[in-house]
């Protein structure tokens, strides 16, 4: 498609910062919803279906870290100016659809700018945050997990408490805590860890740590860690009516493994 692929040239802010709604209480602190007023530049060949063109253009930013959003874009939903309005002075075409015209400035910018309001789901991990991920690979010196199914996280040996000993036997190996033999971290376990460092340059790689309290395998924590268990139940009550599909699906998945009845 002839649309501009360079996101920098494409999105312009009408306002200096994206407007933030107050973040809802979530166990997954790094996820947040944001609303931004943007101008999306669309090539005239797509004038027949502007909504699709805008959606496609925003989709090129998915899973990339954007400085201006201060996070990774996970999903977006666009509203156009006057979508919910009922103005009589708008022109209406044959199908009853509202028509807005835009001028294309020849010689300056051959694209036309569409002002949109975008609801976005952003992922912006910060150091000290607690994240949850699924273990994919284990080694004597590292644990590799995947957060939200998309982001890779690595926890190095220095950040794994001494009490965890690595056993090579079994499929891929596992870490077993000396203090409680039931606390096992193996491939497929869901773990909670704290963020040490985030590398935003390419794929948002996270370096984590299991040192802080209330980290480790979630299945074990939900049973043995009183504070964590109470936090979950508080979050459950607070979360009714929050429409973050991604995080809800994710929570359901982790709750299944923790065997908690809702």
């Amino acid at each position: 498609t002839p649309e501009i692929t360079d996101a920098q040239a494409l999105l312009g802010h009408r306002r200096p910062e994206p407007k933030l709604r107050p973040p809802p209480p979530l166990a997954m602190e790094a996820l947040r919803e944001a609303t931004a007023e943007l101008t999306v530049y669309v090539h005239p060949s797509n004038a027949a279906d502007v909504r699709l063109a805008v959606s496609r253009q925003l989709s090129t930013l998915l899973f990339s870290y954007e400085d201006r959003f201060d996070g990774v874009l996970l999903s977006h939903e666009v509203e156009f100016e006057g979508d919910n309005e009922d103005g009589q002075d708008r022109k209406v075409d044959g199908d009853g659809k509202r028509v807005i015209k835009a001028k294309i400035l020849d010689g300056l910018v051959p694209y036309f700018g569409v002002p949109v309001t975008a609801n976005m789901l952003l992922f912006s991990p910060q150091p000290e945050m607690i994240l949850e991920g699924k273990v994919e690979m284990l080694g004597k010196e590292s644990i590799h997990a995947i957060v939200l199914g998309v982001f890779s996280a690595a926890i190095m040996a220095d950040d794994i408490p001494e009490m965890f000993k690595f056993k090579r036997r079994g499929h891929g190996g596992k870490f077993i805590s000396q203090s409680d033999k039931r606390h096992v971290i193996k491939k497929g376990s869901m773990i909670r860890f704290s963020v040490k460092r985030v590398d935003t340059e390419m794929n948002c790689h996270i370096t984590g740590s299991l040192m802080p309290p209330h980290t480790g395998c979630m299945r074990w924590l939900s049973v043995h860690d009183a504070e964590y268990a109470s936090e979950i139940s508080r979050v459950v009550k607070g979360n009714q009516g929050i429409i973050l599909r991604a995080s809800r699906r994710y929570k359901v998945a982790q709750l299944r493994t923790a065997k908690i009845a809702w």
Binding site: F63, G139, K140, S142, H144, I146, H205
Partner: protein, 648 residues
């Protein structure tokens, strides 16, 4: 720890001491663990010690580091001890990845990323790939290099005479499966890695003039990635790239190359060294065709790649095959459909459809027909699609008569609508009715091949007879006068025998060679003379196509019961030795036959262009003719069937 340090501090240098220590304990499993942990601690220590500005490093530490780097240098040959040490270092490094720093351990990383896996022993390779996988998982900064290193190893080392050494060929499968396995592990651990991999493969893709063995090896390995999750993510892009490459090779094979007499063709000279110099006059059929496909490097490469792609398609399971088919259709529509006279690349669609005739075969026919009848499509695609539909339905043995009649009905209905539309708008005539004539021609072409078999089914026969052919052929647009005479005449002959068309047809039209109207259509390169699925000429990949391909000589016509001797002649044409591979036959044309007849015979169905070119050569040379070997004319009195069928 102090003990260890002191042991290492004394001469002889640490490496040898370590080796000695390692070999001392190579019995028990426990000793193995000790060895690993010793190695690990050593490596860790060395890495840590050089993790600072160069001028701050103690000379001894630097020496240790340099020695370690030297062991990891694969450009020098290793003896057994060195090899064992190398493997140990690799394993130790795998566990110490977090200690590796991109700046301070630059030379170490260089040595790791420069490795050519093909030269390694199997165990070493496994250890190295494990290291690469862990490096990729530990931090983003190594990811690109790791992926690039793996992709660089898709191609085997090339030695003299542009050949792949035999030991590489036998290890190929093993190495490919390991490479693909590593890439998949990386993509599992770093889910966003396929995006980067896609770009890297894009950049590393072999180009048109690259070495054949490298090209084939790369594509083979690349297609190995097209499974499971990785296939879902980037499979479509990979296939698109492969088809692009096939198309590029295809368009670089010219017909002049195929019919070329001379051997020295400039850049292809290198390849011709293999040919024997037995290009005496009458052996033209042999050496000539060898030149045509042996001397043309692009054809050879295309041949090899087609084999790889067909093998890949064959290996897919049902579900995956359906997904690939959808992807292939999209790619086909976007690129292949619009290529002007592609020769062989389109046969991947043919082969894919043959793998599941019921679903895919029919699906493709319907897909093509929809393009033809869709007003919104651009004219070039529609013209091309109609040529494809005609050629496909005729040549694909696996398509049932049922499907053929359904599609024909759609096409005929479209033609009739077109005619009606024409009658209404008399004011502004369209300059040419190319698509209409092309569709009529396609319908007639299909019926030449299929009429007899359709007649065998009473319900299909009645469907066919209900189609308004009379209306079409009597319309003022006069399709019979404009379409290719050879096709029209053959069709009329069969149709009359079957009783499909009444005797309304003007007898004079039967013998017309080429009417003025059809000439005005644009001469030799006109689109309606494009038959995409004409007989396949590439040697090695032919075995995938041949079982499903319908040669003209195999077709039973409606009148064939009458003339038995025709059948006998035709039987010769498909004898096994008619393969392009065995070119021992003399290819002679009985040029003493009637001029008209010869020209007419040359204008037979399924002949793609350059008739006049061929004719010219026939007239010029005496006795040898550079026509590819499928033609074997009979020496009996010149009959129409002497030259039927298989010329390119």
């Amino acid at each position: 720890k102090t003990l260890e340090t002191s042991r290492l501090a004394s001469p002889p240098p640490g490496a040898e001491a370590m080796v000695a220590e390692l070999r001392r304990d190579d019995m028990a499993e426990e000793a193995g663990t000790i060895r690993d942990s010793v190695a690990f601690r050593l490596v860790e220590r060395v890495l840590q010690s050089v993790r600072m500005e160069p001028f701050l490093i103690a000379p001894y530490d630097l020496e240790q580091y340099r020695m370690m780097v030297g062991t990891l240098d694969t450009s020098r040959t290793k003896n057994r001890d060195d090899e064992a040490l190398y493997v140990t270092y690799l394993k130790a490094l795998s566990e110490a990845v977090s200690k590796i720093d991109i700046t301070y351990h630059h030379s170490l990383l260089n040595n790791i990323f420069a490795v050519r896996i093909w030269y390694l022993q199997r165990d070493t390779m496994v250890a190295l790939l494990d290291l690469i996988t862990r490096l990729a998982a530990v931090a983003d900064q190594y990811l690109r290099e790791c992926l690039q290193m793996l992709v660089n190893n898709f191609t085997p080392p090339i030695v003299e005479r542009n050949e792949v050494p035999t030991w590489a060929v036998s290890r190929k499968k093993d190495i490919f499966s390991h490479l693909c396995g590593s890439l998949k592990t990386i993509s599992d651990t770093v889910p966003l890695a396929p995006r980067m991999l896609r770009d890297i493969i894009d950049r590393s893709m072999p180009k048109l003039f690259d070495n054949k063995a490298k090209m084939i090896s790369f594509v083979e390995c690349m297609l190995g990635l097209d499974t499971d999750r990785m296939g879902d993510l980037i499979g479509a892009i990979l296939l698109a790239k492969v088809v692009d490459l096939l198309t590029e090779l295809d368009v670089n094979i010219t017909w002049e190359d195929i019919l070329q007499e001379e051997h020295d063709k400039g850049i292809f000279e290198m390849e011709l060294e293999d040919l024997d110099a037995d290009d005496d006059g009458d052996g033209f059929g042999q050496a000539g065709t060898k030149v045509c496909l042996g001397g043309n490097a692009c054809a050879e490469k295309l041949d090899g790649l087609m084999v790889v792609v067909c093998e890949h398609l064959k290996s897919l399971d049902r579900q995956r095959l359906y997904k690939e088919f959808v992807i292939l259709k999209t790619i086909f529509r976007a690129s292949l459909l619009r290529v002007h006279r592609s020769k062989f690349a389109q046969f991947i669609m043919f082969y894919t459809c043959s793998l599941d005739p019921k679903t895919l075969g029919e699906g493709f026919a319907v897909f093509l027909t929809d393009i033809v009848t869709e007003k919104k499509e651009d004219p070039i695609s529609r013209m091309s699609a109609v040529s494809y539909v005609g050629s496909y339905l005729s040549r694909a043995r696996f398509i049932s008569a049922d499907t053929v009649v359904t599609i024909l009905k759609k096409l005929v209905d479209w033609c009739v609508d077109y005619c009606d539309h024409q009658s209404k708008r008399e004011a502004t005539p369209i300059p040419n009715h190319q698509l209409f004539y092309a569709t009529c021609q396609a319908v007639m072409y299909v019926l030449c091949f299929r009429l007899r078999s359709i007649m065998d089914y009473p319900n299909l026969k009645s469907d066919l007879f209900h189609m308004p052919f009379g209306f079409l052929f009597r319309h003022r647009l006069e399709p019979l006068k404009v379409c290719l005479p050879s096709i029209v005449n053959e069709f009329l002959r069969q149709a009359k025998d079957a009783g499909l068309v009444a005797a309304f047809v003007d007898p004079a039209a039967e013998d017309a060679i080429e009417s003025d109207l059809s000439r005005t259509f644009g001469g030799i390169n006109r689109l309606d003379m494009f038959f995409p699925f004409d007989p396949y000429l590439l040697k090695e990949s032919d075995r995938y196509i041949r079982p499903n391909f319908e040669f003209w000589s195999m077709v039973k016509t409606t009148y064939s019961d009458d003339t038995d001797d025709d059948d006998d002649e035709l039987e010769d044409l498909d004898a096994p030795e008619m393969n392009v591979g065995s070119l021992d036959d003399h290819v002679e044309i009985d040029i003493n036959s009637d001029d008209d007849d010869l020209e007419y015979s040359m204008n037979k169905m399924s002949i793609t262009p350059h008739h006049s070119f061929l004719h010219q050569m026939a007239m010029d040379s005496d006795g040898g003719l550079s026509m590819p070997a499928r033609i074997r004319p009979s020496t009996s009195p010149p009959s129409r069937w002497a030259m039927s069928g298989e010329s390119p």
